[in-house]
């Protein structure tokens, strides 16, 4: 059965995040509660969300002796150019553009101290200082070279698969708020998805961040769930892989109704949907 490979240090899997850094990412979410200057930009929300996700991925692999390399991770930003947002130490570069999670754990750009309120165990709350790792900061400039980003992702995935033929295949998650400005991304997406390990083809999921007040379309199964006359939404739907079994289970745990044809795709997603989506997409199978 495809998409069932056990994930171990001998047989890790890979997550590659493609993050839109175009100028429009400076704007707030369409349905944001806060308006005007107070509302955080999409770029800020996305950077915070993905930094938090990377932190959680490290924690999933953390054991008493250190961090086990169950995952290899890459983050590519695309805006004024396509650039890696996390990099391994030169001496540890695997040549695939993907960083073993233990290297990521040791190399945050900085630790940020935040104050959060926690349960004091006595019915009240108290302030607690927590340190959170930050690997990259928000950035928003110029156009949306999504095709270039998919092309670079394809090179990374191909190189990684050459070294990990038995692994659960790489999961690529593309988060964007606009149309590609450098061509037809569907063609690039199909090429990316065609690279496969023995366990299945590369998975590509897409999240479109909301620019309007329109409701989100989360994990659609049929094209007719999408807004009419939105070729752009149709293209992202077409680019997206269906969810494999373990991720369908994760989606059901998040309260979604899914079936075999459900796509890893969200249109007009708000920050809450984005977090849920990334959680589902990073549940390939049990760690062993």
């Amino acid at each position: 059965m495809a998409y069932s490979a056990e994930i171990s240090r001998q047989q890790p899997t890979a997550f590659l995040f493609l993050l839109d850094q175009s100028a429009s990412m400076q704007d707030a979410f369409g349905g944001a509660e806060q308006k005007g200057d107070a509302a955080p930009s999409k770029a800020r929300v996305l950077a915070d969300t993905v930094n938090k996700l990377l932190q959680n991925l490290v924690l999933r692999c953390a054991k008493e002796e250190g961090v086990r390399d169950y995952f290899h991770v890459g983050v590519l930003g695309y805006g004024d150019r396509v650039q890696p947002l996390v990099t391994p130490a030169e001496s540890l570069d695997s040549g695939t553009g993907l960083v073993p999670i233990s290297h990521l754990a040791e190399r945050p750009k900085r630790m940020e101290e935040r104050v959060q309120r926690v349960d004091d165990g006595d019915g009240g709350t108290r302030e607690q200082r927590v340190k959170s790792p930050v690997w990259f900061d928000p950035h928003a400039k110029n156009g949306t070279p999504m095709c270039q980003a998919l092309d670079l992702a394809t090179q990374h995935v191909r190189d990684w698969i050459d070294r990990h033929t038995g692994s659960f295949p790489p999961v690529v998650m593309n988060v964007t708020d606009g149309e590609a400005t450098d061509g037809d991304p569907l063609r690039y997406a199909q090429k990316l998805r065609s690279y496969a390990t023995d366990d299945g083809e590369t998975l590509l999921f897409n999240v479109h961040l909301s620019e309007s007040e329109a409701p989100a379309v989360e994990l659609p199964t049929h094209r007719d769930e999408l807004p009419r006359n939105a070729k752009y939404a149709d293209d992202l739907f077409e680019m997206s892989s269906t969810l494999p079994f373990t991720m369908r289970s994760a989606a059901e745990n998040e309260g979604y109704t899914v079936d075999l044809d459900t796509r890893g795709f969200m249109f007009n997603a708000d920050p809450v949907a984005l977090v849920k989506f990334l959680e589902i997409g990073t549940r390939p199978s049990n760690l062993r």
Binding site: E6, S8, R9, Q10, V58, L59, R60, A62, K63, E64, V67, A105, E106, P108, M111, K131, P133, N286, L287, R288
Partner: protein, 244 residues
């Protein structure tokens, strides 16, 4: 391997880490209590995605075997004591760890647990949280497999006991029965239990270290035994004069 000398019970522990892992990465635990009635034994399986889960599994099994938790009703009383012990053991170790060490430990460890108490009056009681399995054998036949008796019912999301006060504590299952001389009890963590349910639990009666290793190697090779930490406790009930 361990053999009892005073009680008329022969007991053994068989344990193997997941293939590919170092022995110190084994996260199951097994314990057999002191050599007196009631005889207590336990197995536990620490969750892979948590840290210090072996420490937690050991505290749980020792807690059952040594501290004499035979009645499931006592679990709410002793669990906070076990959690405090885990916190003491772990706090010392995380002081010099990088950022993720303390944060991971703050989430706590989780483990399944199965415990049995066998009484001199030919009764026994058991309790379980999660998917470890107790087999009761009589005349080399399986009288009961509990709480799971179907190898298809292992779903990777078992109930787990938390090492931190906070997460919900699942309600333990409990059962009891009677035993006779010649009976045997087998306690197994999930992968081993699923394998035994697919095959013949009575084969365990013939195990020594070599046979256990050969059988698990072979079953892992054919896919009959999932590659996971695998732990089995065997308790054979003998007539008093056979106990020596």
């Amino acid at each position: 391997m361990e053999t009892k000398s005073v009680l008329p019970v022969v007991s053994r522990i068989f344990a193997r880490p997941k293939a590919g892992n170092a022995p110190e990465e084994y996260e199951d635990a097994a314990a057999i209590g002191d050599d007196r009635w009631p005889l207590r034994a336990a197995v536990a399986d620490g969750a892979t995605e948590t840290s210090y889960s072996r420490t937690w599994a050991e505290i749980l099994t020792e807690g059952v075997a040594q501290a004499g938790v035979s009645a499931v009703e006592r679990l709410p009383t002793v669990l906070p004591q076990w959690q405090a012990q885990w916190d003491r053991d772990v706090s010392e170790q995380i002081e010099d760890m990088p950022w993720y060490g303390a944060e991971k430990a703050a989430d706590g460890a989780f483990a399944t647990l199965l415990g049995i108490s066998i009484y001199e009056d030919n009764t026994w009681k058991a309790f379980s949280v999660g998917d470890c399995v107790l087999f009761h054998l009589s005349d080399d036949e399986v009288e009961s497999a509990w709480p799971v008796d179907d190898p298809r019912e292992f779903d990777h999301r078992p109930n787990l006991l938390p090492s931190r006060d906070g997460p919900p504590v699942p309600e333990p299952d409990a059962t009891e029965g009677e035993w006779e001389v010649g009976d045997a009890f087998i306690l197994a963590t999930d992968a081993a239990a699923q394998w035994l349910l697919r095959t013949d639990p009575a084969a365990v009666l013939e195990f020594d270290e070599d046979r256990f290793r050969l059988a698990t190697d072979s079953a892992r090779g054919t896919g009959g035994l999932r590659n996971d930490d695998s732990t089995i406790v065997l308790l054979e009930m003998r007539a008093p004069e056979e106990g020596e």
